[in-house]
C-alpha cells in the first residue's frame, strides 16, 4: 500500500508505446484547497484518487492521462491546493514548483486548468491573478455550478472570460456537467491569457480588490448562505451538544464495528474454513497438505476474516470525511490539541492515522511549521491504525466476555476497543507534550481552518474507498502474510528427523521463538507469541496470520479456533500486555520508511522506533502485573 499511496508519478514510467514523450502535452490542475480538483481529476481520468470534504486531502502531485476526442493523449497533473503562489507548507511547495517547472521529473506544464469554487468566488478569484500572470494558456473552471444554482447565485461567464482573457466554464465535477469544456480547451489552439488588468501580485489586499472588481463587472451574485449547514452547525458546534455528539459519534463507530462486523466476520470465517476443508482431501501428500492448508491457508484466512471490520471502519470514516463533519470535529478537539502543544492543522492528519499512519504522515505536509510537523509525524503512529484492528479484535473476542453496558447500545467488547483507542490517543498527546516542551519547541502560528458546507457523501466516493481498501487488504494477505505463513509453516516442519517433521517446539520456528522467551516471559508471552512479535515487525496484522499458522500446525491446538487456542496460551494479564504492546509498539516498516523519506533523515525514525518499543515493553509489563494483581 505504501508504494501506491506515496509515490509521485514519473514520466519515465509512462506506458505510452511509440509516442515521443515530448509530444505529450501536460496540463496542470490548480486551485484553492477543497474546490474539487481531485474530484475533477477522477472524473476526467477515470482514476480514483482519494477525495474528501475538507481542505488538504491531496498533498502530492499525481499524473493521470486523458484521451481527447481527436485521439490525442495528454497528461493531467493533480496538485495540492494553494491559496497563493507563496508556498508556506510542503504541499503548497509541490504545486508552486510544478507550475514554475522546478519539480524534478516533471515537465513544466503546457497549460493550466484553474479550478475555483463558484460558490466562493469572492475569495477564490484572487488566486486567478498570480496563476494567469504565469503566462500559460489557462482554462478557468467554476466548479460546483449545481450548488451555485441551488443557492440562487449567478455569474456572467462570458463577461468573466472577457475580464480574465481566458476561457471560463461553469462545471460540476461531481455530476460531470460542463466538463466537455476541458476537451475543447485542450484541443483548441491555446492562447496566452489576455486579462484586461492584473493587480500587484505580492499584495494580498490588491489581489482581493482586483477579484472584487471583476466579480462586480461579471454580475457575480453570491449564493445564499447554506441553510442546512448553518442549522447543522448550530447543533454540531453547540457548546454542550457539540462535544456530546462528537463522543456519541465515536462510540457509535466502535459499536458498529463490533455489532455488525462480528457476524459478518463469522460468515466469512465459515466460508474460508469450508474452502480449506473442501480443498484438503484433494492434496494427497501429507507434508504439502500440512504446509498449504494447515500452515499457509490458516494464516492467510485468519487475517482475511477481519475484512468486514476494516471495511466498516473505512465506510464510517468515509461518511464522516465526505460529509464535512471532520472539519467540525477538528474545531471541537482543537482546544485539547493546543493544550498539548499540537498545531491545529495536526488534527486531520492524526485522524487519518486511524486508517493508516502512512498517508497520515504524508498529510502532515500541510503543517507550515517544521517543528510542529515533526512533532505530528512522531506521534502519528500512536493513533490506532486499521492494522491493529485485527489484533485487538482477536484478543478482545478471546478474553472479554460479551456483556451489555448501558442497555442495548454499548457492549463490553466495544468498550474495551474504545479504551485501546483512547490509550493510543493519550500516548500521542503525552508524547507531543514532551516533544513540544523540549526538542521541538516552536512559536505558535495562526491556525485557520475553512469549514466546508456539509455535503451528502457520494456512493461513488464511498464505493471507491471500500474497493481500494479491499484491494489493499487482500493484496497484503496474498503477499506478505502468505509469504510469512508459508515460510513459518516450512520452519515448523524443519529439521526433518528420519523424514518426519519434528515436534513443533523443536522445529526451527520453535527454537527461534524459545530464544526470545527470556526477554518476553516477563510480559507473560510464550514462544508462539514471541514468533508473532517477530513477524509482526513486517506489519502488525501479520501476528494474527502467524498465530493462525502456528496453531494450525500444532497438533494439540489444531482443532481449536484461534480464540480458544489463544486462551490456552495467554493469561488475562498476558492478553492485556499483548494489547498494550500493540497499542504502543512501532511495528510497521512502511511507516518507518515514510518517516525516513518525509524527514529526510534516519534520526527521526530511529528515535521513534526506540521510543515506541521501550514504551511498549514498559507499558506491557505494567499492564500484565496490574491485571494479574487485580484478577487473581
Amino acid at each position: 500500500m505504501s508504494s501506491r499511496e506515496c509515490c509521485g508519478p514519473s514520466f519515465g514510467t509512462s506506458v505510452l508505446e511509440g509516442v515521443d514523450q515530448k509530444s505529450i502535452r501536460t496540463i496542470a490542475l490548480v486551485g484553492p484547497p477543497n474546490c474539487g480538483k481531485t474530484t475533477l481529476f477522477n472524473q476526467l481520468t477515470g482514476l480514483n484518487r482519494k477525495v474528501a470534504n475538507f481542505p488538504g486531502v491531496t498533498v502530492e502531485h499525481f499524473t493521470g492521462y486523458i484521451t481527447l476526442q481527436d485521439g490525442e493523449r495528454v497528461a493531467l497533473i493533480d496538485l495540492p491546493g494553494i491559496y497563493s503562489m507563496h508556498a508556506k507548507s510542503e504541499d503548497e511547495r509541490v504545486t508552486v514548483d510544478v507550475l514554475r517547472g522546478q519539480m524534478t521529473g516533471i515537465e513544466p506544464p503546457d497549460a493550466i486548468v484553474l479550478v475555483l469554487d463558484s460558490t466562493n468566488l469572492g475569495r477564490h478569484l484572487a488566486l486567478a491573478a498570480p496563476v494567469i500572470s504565469l503566462g500559460l494558456p489557462t482554462l478557468v473552471l467554476l466548479n460546483m455550478a449545481d450548488s451555485l444554482r441551488a443557492r440562487d447565485g449567478h455569474i456572467d461567464v462570458l463577461s468573466l472570460a472577457r475580464q480574465l482573457g481566458t476561457p471560463v466554464a461553469l462545471v460540476s465535477a461531481v455530476s460531470g456537467e460542463g466538463l466537455e469544456a476541458v476537451d475543447h480547451f485542450i484541443s483548441s489552439a491555446m492562447h496566452q491569457p489576455q486579462p484586461t488588468e492584473l493587480p500587484m501580485l505580492h499584495d494580498v489586499r490588491e489581489c482581493r480588490q482586483w477579484a472584487e472588481r471583476i466579480n462586480v463587472q461579471s454580475n457575480y451574485r453570491k449564493p445564499l448562505p447554506p441553510v442546512w449547514t448553518r442549522r447543522l452547525d448550530a447543533v454540531y458546534l453547540h457548546r454542550l451538544w457539540g462535544p456530546l455528539i462528537f463522543f456519541l459519534v465515536v462510540v457509535a463507530v466502535f459499536q458498529t464495528i463490533f455489532a455488525a462486523g462480528q457476524p459478518l466476520s463469522k460468515i466469512l470465517q465459515d466460508a474460508l474454513d469450508y474452502l480449506g476443508t473442501a480443498v484438503s482431501p484433494h492434496v494427497h501428500n501429507a507434508l504439502i497438505r500440512s504446509l498449504l492448508i494447515d500452515g499457509a491457508w490458516k494464516g492467510v484466512s485468519s487475517v482475511l476474516v477481519f475484512l468486514p471490520q476494516i471495511l466498516l471502519l473505512f465506510l464510517l470514516i468515509g461518511v464522516l470525511e465526505d460529509s464535512g463533519y471532520l472539519a467540525r470535529a477538528a474545531v471541537i478537539a482543537d482546544r485539547t490539541m493546543s493544550r498539548f502543544g499540537l498545531n491545529g492543522k495536526a488534527f486531520i492528519p492524526l485522524l487519518s492515522a486511524y486508517a493508516c499512519a502512512v498517508p497520515a504522515i504524508m498529510a502532515t505536509r500541510t503543517i507550515e511549521n517544521k517543528r510542529d510537523r515533526l512533532a505530528t509525524i512522531m506521534v502519528a503512529p500512536f493513533m490506532t491504525c486499521s492494522a491493529r484492528l485485527p489484533v485487538y479484535t482477536m484478543v478482545i473476542a478471546a478474553f472479554v466476555p460479551d456483556a451489555r453496558i448501558a442497555g442495548v447500545f454499548f457492549g463490553s467488547r466495544a468498550l474495551a476497543m474504545l479504551g485501546l483507542y483512547v490509550i493510543g490517543f493519550l500516548a500521542a498527546l503525552f508524547t507531543a507534550r514532551m516533544l513540544k516542551s523540549s526538542i521541538l519547541k516552536s512559536k505558535d502560528v495562526p491556525f485557520l481552518l475553512e469549514l466546508p458546507p456539509y455535503r451528502w457523501p457520494t456512493l461513488r466516493s464511498l464505493g471507491m474507498r471500500l474497493l481500494d481498501r479491499t484491494k489493499a487488504f487482500v493484496w497484503r494477505a496474498g503477499t506478505v502474510i502468505l509469504a510469512v505463513s508459508l515460510l513459518l509453516a516450512i520452519l515448523t516442519n524443519l529439521p526433518l528427523h528420519q523424514g518426519q517433521p519434528p515436534a513443533i517446539q523443536n522445529s526451527i520456528a520453535g527454537r527461534l521463538g524459545h530464544s526470545l522467551v527470556p526477554v518476553i516471559a516477563p510480559l507473560g508471552f510464550n514462544w508462539k507469541i514471541g514468533v508473532g512479535l517477530l513477524t509482526s515487525l513486517a506489519a502488525r496484522e501479520v501476528i494474527v496470520g502467524t498465530l493462525g499458522t502456528l496453531y494450525g500446525v500444532d497438533p494439540q491446538q489444531h482443532a481449536m479456533n484461534l480464540q480458544q487456542a489463544l486462551h490456552s496460551d495467554l493469561s488475562l494479564g498476558g492478553a492485556a500486555a499483548l494489547l498494550i504492546f500493540f497499542a504502543f509498539a512501532m511495528q510497521c516498516t512502511s511507516t518507518l520508511a515514510v518517516v525516513r523519506r518525509e524527514t529526510n533523515s534516519w534520526k527521526w525514525p530511529a528515535l521513534q522506533f526506540t521510543y515506541m518499543t521501550v514504551m511498549a515493553y514498559g507499558g506491557a509489563f505494567i499492564a500484565k502485573h496490574l491485571v494479574d494483581a487485580i484478577f487473581r
Binding site: Y83, V331, L451
Partner: protein
C-alpha cells in the same frame, strides 16, 4: 425582581461592545492605537458614531462587525488575509468549540475557524445601530 430584570434585559443588546471595548483597553494598554484619538474626535461630532474597537475574539456570537486592523507579524497577517480577514471586511461571530476556542467566523460567504490567540490580534469595530440600519 422586576426592576432587576428590567434593568438588565434592555441593556444586554447594547452592552457587549462597551464591555468588550473595555476589555480591549485592558489587554493592550500600551498599544498606541489611533482608537482613542478617533473615538475622541467622533465623540465630539456625534456620540452615536463613536468607534469602538474590540478584539475579534471578544465579539459576542451573532454580532456583526467590520475588521479595522490586523496586529500580527507580516507572515501571519498575510496568512489571515488569504482567508479573507482584511480591514473593511464584514465579519460575523459564529459557533465555537468547547470553552469558546477556537471560534468560527463568517465572512465573505465562508466560515473560517481561528484560535483565540490569533483572533485577539484582529481588531474590529462594531457599527453603530444607525450605521447598521
Amino acid at each position: 425582581m422586576i426592576f432587576r430584570f428590567a434593568s438588565r434585559a434592555p441593556s444586554s443588546k447594547t452592552r457587549p461592545p462597551v464591555r468588550a471595548a473595555k476589555h480591549a483597553g485592558q489587554r493592550r494598554p500600551a498599544s498606541g492605537l489611533p482608537e482613542s484619538a478617533a473615538s475622541a474626535k467622533a465623540n465630539v461630532a456625534d456620540p452615536s458614531r463613536e468607534i469602538q474597537l474590540v478584539p475579534l475574539c471578544d465579539l459576542p456570537q451573532g454580532v456583526h462587525a467590520i475588521i479595522h486592523e490586523i496586529q500580527l507579524p507580516a507572515s501571519a497577517a498575510e496568512q489571515v488575509m488569504l482567508f479573507g480577514f482584511m480591514s473593511g471586511v464584514e465579519v460575523v461571530s459564529g459557533q465555537c468549540g468547547p470553552g469558546g476556542d477556537p471560534r468560527v467566523y463568517r465572512l465573505d460567504g465562508t466560515e473560517v475557524a481561528i484560535r483565540r490567540a490569533t483572533a485577539q490580534h484582529i481588531l474590529v469595530r462594531i457599527p453603530s445601530v444607525q450605521e447598521q440600519a
